[in-house]
Symmetry: C2
Subunit: 271 residues, 2 copies
DNA sequence: GCACTTGTGTTCGTTTTTTGCACGCGGGAG
DNA sequence: CTCCCGCGTGCAAAAAACGAACACAAGTGC
């Protein structure tokens, strides 16, 4: 879902830049994972050779990995074409399960969504992107479907700015400067200095509203999710269509709901 | 989220039963993936040695895999403890993106959810389990959180029975007989012959209602999701709390909504 | 119909990487 | 202090990767 895959996020991408020749780096694993990632909306189903071409592996290597993944149940094949099997979700599931936060947060997010009649989402920051880790959708307002694992550029999203604002100064600055900041609408703020000011403001206020900077007609407001000790673990937001709600109304009506939910989540979290 | 991990689903589990000695099987990949899966709710954060113990790998091997995954950004570490990084979701994301179905289905599922004020989910079958692939939650009614990738035993769920019913006879029978069928509530039907009758009925009717067989107080009704050519790709359901709705009401009010959505999804699907 | 190109998937020996084991190190608890 | 547990490292043995063949099919031009 969603093609965006925005920023150049990951510093080191897998594939096979003929690995760090470290003896501590298992190339087979990196290559196997790159085979999994070779599948996409554009190529949901591939022959052995197509996989080889996409990953840069030899056909022989691609074959070994595909057969291995098939044996393990992560891909399936009709003999000629290969496609990913649902078991792949087990891997991400391991991640989601390993975080109590989402489990704890979901009921409160459902409550938020029910109260404001808009989608409520949670995300974490990774590199230049935010990654969606939980979501309670209502009727679609965005042009793209945002599902778990989806990425959006941090600098242009309400959750991204909240997360950036709660990074240590040096890190936040560095990300602002190094991450690509393509304007996504006419309103997108891309100037690093201006963004820095915004982050300082967000940090002081404890919330962030973004008005049609990510997508025309889309407004969203986000708050940090903290654990009991006050450390920011993620961000949570609510978005609404510009035709349905003004920024002031969002602050008046949505912010209190978000803040209350965030507090309840913090209290409900262990540790 | 959700511990269930029910049935013994996967025929061949990974780990390291010292692999099929085939030259076509890449042990390193299987082992690397088993390292990812070693993380769970119970062990969200582990030292190198703990990972080694959990996976049955030597510490040296575990170390190499963890360092590799760290380099690739799939795990992160504070130097001592390792945990999964959100990038892991990219893997499952590759799967979800590779299926148009979910993208197409989501808006209709949101509509269903809005119309009946209950959660609407979609799943596929894999072995003895159904795997959740899309979900529009409303306020929580189940005791467990069902998220993407979550598994439930097929025989005891409405979606599972729909999916089993649309398998070829031989396959459906075989799964009924070989899959574990532990009773989950007092009402759970576990008798294979009785289940077979139910499946035939589901196949004939084109929908399935399950009343508190999975969990006390939980009723759900499911229909198949087909492509334009009529092939069953997944199942979609709506569930409700027993105190809020009777089975007859579910059939009267929810079924038409589900059926209409399923038809719209079929029409909206390519090929 | 025929040789021919092109793109498959598969096999095999050789080179290269990965592995497991044994050993050494260091820091916290008893 | 010393024991124990967790971590890092060197090396022979095992494995995986590579590349180059081979087999096969479908389409191509003649």
């Amino acid at each position: 879902m969603q093609k965006t895959n925005t920023s150049a996020s990951s510093e080191r991408d897998e594939a096979d830049p003929h690995g760090p020749d470290d003896r501590e780096f298992v190339n087979s694993l990196a290559r196997g994972l790159s085979v999994i990632r070779a599948f996409s909306r554009e190529a949901p189903e591939m022959t052995l050779s197509e996989v080889a071409a996409r990953t840069g592996l030899t056909r022989a290597a691609a074959r070994r990995f595909l057969l291995t993944l098939d044996r393990l149940g992560y891909v399936c094949t009709d003999g000629r074409r290969f496609r990913l099997a649902p078991k792949i979700l087990d891997l991400g599931f391991a991640y989601l399960s390993s975080m109590d936060l989402w489990d704890v947060a979901m009921p409160y997010m459902e409550q938020v969504s029910a109260e404001v009649h808009e989608s409520c989402s949670a995300s974490v920051i990774e590199g230049c992107d935010i990654v969606y880790v939980a979501r309670v959708p209502t009727t679609r307002i965005m042009s793209v479907a945002l599902n778990l694992g989806a990425r959006l550029p941090a600098f242009a999203t309400s959750m991204g700015r909240v997360l950036l604002a709660h990074l240590p100064d040096a890190k936040a600055r560095e990300r602002l400067l190094t991450c690509p900041r393509r304007a996504l609408t006419a309103r997108t703020v891309t100037d690093a200095d201006r963004l820095w000011e915004i982050l300082l403001d967000v940090r002081a206020k404890g919330w962030c509203l973004v008005d049609q900077e990510l997508e025309e007609g889309l407004r969203s407001i986000a708050v940090p999710l903290r654990n009991q000790r006050g450390r920011v673990l993620a961000a949570m937001n609510v978005s609404g269509h510009a035709s349905r709600i003004t920024p002031d109304e969002m602050i008046a009506r949505y912010l209190p709901v978000l803040r209350r939910a965030a507090e309840q989540i913090a209290r409900a979290l262990p540790g």
